[in-house]
């Protein structure tokens, strides 16, 4: 069993920092083979307050330490004896009742880090808490797909900036806000001319840049040529985040063979005056996801889609002096799909009495979730991608 580090060493060419594939050939995209599964990852940035999302409305401790922030039991959407949803998550509760939602509680990792960038890095790279990796788990998924191919479009992030999660050693996913916009940008004569230049005989540094550009242009062309074909037709809320999920839906409907989609919703770092802001964000989140699921069902592609929702950490059990919460540790994680092998609250409730320095203790390592998704859903070599073997869960 190779360690992550030796995996990375082996997969990088020993002599070159540039990792240029042999020959730059014209991109040939294929439609998604039937039955191949796709993953949609939704990142809630800032550290979503899990305890006010999935609420332990029967737990005295919760109300004792959250005199202002504790959500009144009467307002909580009760779906279970111990746990309920924040009132803004009506749409999510519906998915729960339809058996299309699995909630994993207490998800985290050993020696949790409470700094945003560090913890987000850990979730992006699937590293140990004390390890610094420069590639992301989904980037390494792309690396494992093929050595020399142009695999960038197989992972698309709806954003202008590519997240570390999608950066591999050799392959990197594509970041775009919408296919038309990217296409239009790259139609400029500058890009068209540069993309046509064959620079693979030049110095590695130059060659790498021209290769990346050529692949960008041809991927963008492919994506745009596909997405023009099918209109979404579905209704989405008028929020920026819902717009991104709509773009994902359009890409899925186009039939391109992208396996992974990624989108972020930011603003969860609620140190101060949490109640209103958190409610607003959860509503944006739930309504957008609901629109996406409805849309996917309408086009018959929901069965092949799994949605994973995570945040880089939860927040402290007790509220702080500013009507907010501070950085915590373990949190809940959602999986949304039509054929989940386990549904609802899969692994117990958060223990608010056994805390470490006021924070929840994780009982499930997030990398087990990654391993399960990589192995069972995406049919990829999870152990190699994650550098270690993590227990699989019976979820998908």
């Amino acid at each position: 069993m190779s360690t992550r580090r030796s995996f990375l060493k082996q997969s990088a060419l020993a002599t070159s920092a540039w990792l240029i594939p042999g020959f730059l050939k014209a991109f040939d995209g294929k439609p998604m083979p039937a039955g191949e599964k796709r993953l949609v990852v939704i990142q809630l940035s800032g550290g979503n307050d899990g305890l006010n999302t999935v609420v332990p409305y029967r737990n005295d401790v919760y109300y004792q330490v959250r005199p202002q922030l504790g959500l009144p039991a009467s307002s909580v959407i009760k779906v279970h004896d111990e746990l309920g949803f924040h009132p803004a998550l009506e749409k999510l509760a519906r998915l729960y009742h339809q058996g299309e939602l699995a909630v994993l509680n207490n998800v985290g990792y050993p020696n949790p880090d409470r700094s945003h960038f560090r913890s987000m890095d850990i979730w992006h790279t699937a590293a140990d808490s004390s390890e610094y990796l420069s590639t992301g788990w989904l980037g390494r998924f792309l690396d494992a797909r093929c050595h020399d191919c142009a695999a960038g479009h197989l992972a698309i992030e709806v954003d202008d900036v590519l997240t570390l999660a999608l950066k591999g050693e050799r392959q990197k996913g594509m970041a775009l806000r919408n296919p038309k916009r990217l296409h239009d940008t790259l139609q400029a004569p500058l890009f068209q001319e540069l993309a046509a230049i064959d620079a693979h005989g030049e110095e590695p540094s130059v060659s790498y840049l021209y290769k990346t550009l050529a692949q960008t242009v041809s991927s963008a062309e492919y994506i745009y040529s596909q997405t023009g074909k099918v209109a979404s037709g579905a209704e989405y809320p008028a929020t920026d985040f819902a717009g991104r999920l709509k773009t994902i839906a359009q890409l899925i409907h186009s039939g391109i063979d992208t396996r992974v989609y990624y989108a972020s919703l930011s603003g969860f770092d609620t140190h101060v005056r949490q109640l209103n802001e958190h409610e607003r964000l959860l509503k944006v989140f739930a309504e957008a996801v609901d629109a996406l699921v409805t849309d996917l069902k309408k086009h018959g592609v929901f069965d092949d889609t799994l949605i994973l929702v995570f945040s880089e950490f939860g927040r402290r059990v007790a509220q702080n002096a500013s009507a907010g919460t501070d950085h915590g540790t373990a949190n809940n994680l959602f999986l949304i799909g039509s054929h989940l092998r386990q549904q609802g609250f899969v692994n117990g409730t958060p223990d608010l009495k056994q805390l470490e320095q006021g924070d929840l203790i994780h009982t499930l390592d997030f990398r087990s979730v990654y391993a399960t998704v990589l192995d069972r859903w995406l049919q990829a070599d999870a152990d190699r991608i994650l550098g270690k073997s993590f227990a699989r869960l019976d979820l998908v």
Binding site: V161, L190, T212, D269
Partner: protein
Amino acid sequence: MAPQHFFYRAGFGVAPGTNTSLAVRETLAQSAMNKPIAVVEPVDAEGLRLRGMSPDERKQMLQKSRKTVLQLNQAWLAQMANDATCLREKMTLFWHDHFACRTLFAPLAQKQNNTLRHHALGSFRQLLQAIAKDPAMLQFLNNQQNRKDSPNENFAREVMELFTLGRGHYTEEDVKEAARAFTGWAFNPMTTDFLFRTRQHDDGVKTFRGQRGRWGGEDIVDMLLEDKQTARFVVGKIWKSFVSDQPPEPEIAEALAADFFRWDYDIARLMESLYTSSWFYENRFRASRIKTPVELLAGILVQTGGRFQEEVAPLFIQRALGQVLFYPPNVGGWPQGPEWIDSSSLTFRLSLPSLLFSERETDFQAKDDGDANNLTNGFRGKNLALAVDWKKWADVFTKQSTAKTLEAISAVLLARPLFASQTARALRFVETARTDEEVVRQSYLALMSLPEYQLC
């Protein structure tokens, strides 16, 4: 081309018409100029209290900090673009990445920056001793702790893993023992001065890397420097930032490390050795690095002498490209080389000149890093226009043909000559210019939009 190569590495590039005939040693002597940044008021009587602030107080504090974050960023960038200070600033930037650290408090950010600047070309020993006691660093690493009873184990680990030896050259026992030596290290929140809390210090005997004694933090630092591996590790980092994105060549790197060690970690001497060695100017080390976002931005400012019309524009560009001064992503520092490049960052870099030199606006949205306390998350940019005195540069190239002007500007902007078809293409674009100033502007636009401009 050789002077251009030197200036792209020791500094951020050169402006047209700069006298590059001075010998390297004379030029390096200019880096003695040390101009501390002084835009933030020293800590006031309230000190750095954060806990227990009311929501309104906190809001006010954050608003004030937002302004100073912008000011710090502008001030440092301005010094990078300035002939007199750029050499030392390049070195300071390197150490800022090496000792990557973030703080919420502008006075601490400024203080650390000036500490890095002060020692940037001095002794790495003194630099490390100073940074180990720097309040921003102490606070940053305290915040990353997970266990109250071993307050500095993280710092001890990071000192070894990231600042001196590198992974795999120390044991967990070393980390534990070093952590004991660093206990009691704190700072006075009112003055930001280092404070040694005797009662919190474990002054028992520690065994660190085979040596027994009542070691304190300073002793640990000295012992780490006694190991040649530290010299090797630091030289490895210097290589990546100043020589090439390709891995170090063993013979050259070993020789440099041996010298660095023998010279008791004299940074200026190491850099001078680099810049006066003939191997440094060989072809394989030219245009062998992808510019980091700050190098790209500072280089543009140096080469155009331009000023942004909107003061948030340079901060937005840093955000868009993923490198914001004073906000490294984590204590491991910023990415390297090809890691900066993906489909969207490359597209943005190549589009940047047309956004700077024309009236186009951008709707690019930089990513929020999730941290409500990271005030740079709020800086948006639409107008990235750079006001440039094109006439000034046109005067440098008077009485030359368009082709010769393009060639001369190419020698200033690019780290390697273009291949012939590229030159022909650029010339076709430039020849549509009607005035001398337009010739210069179109040359800049044509050349800076090429992938080759991303290299130094």
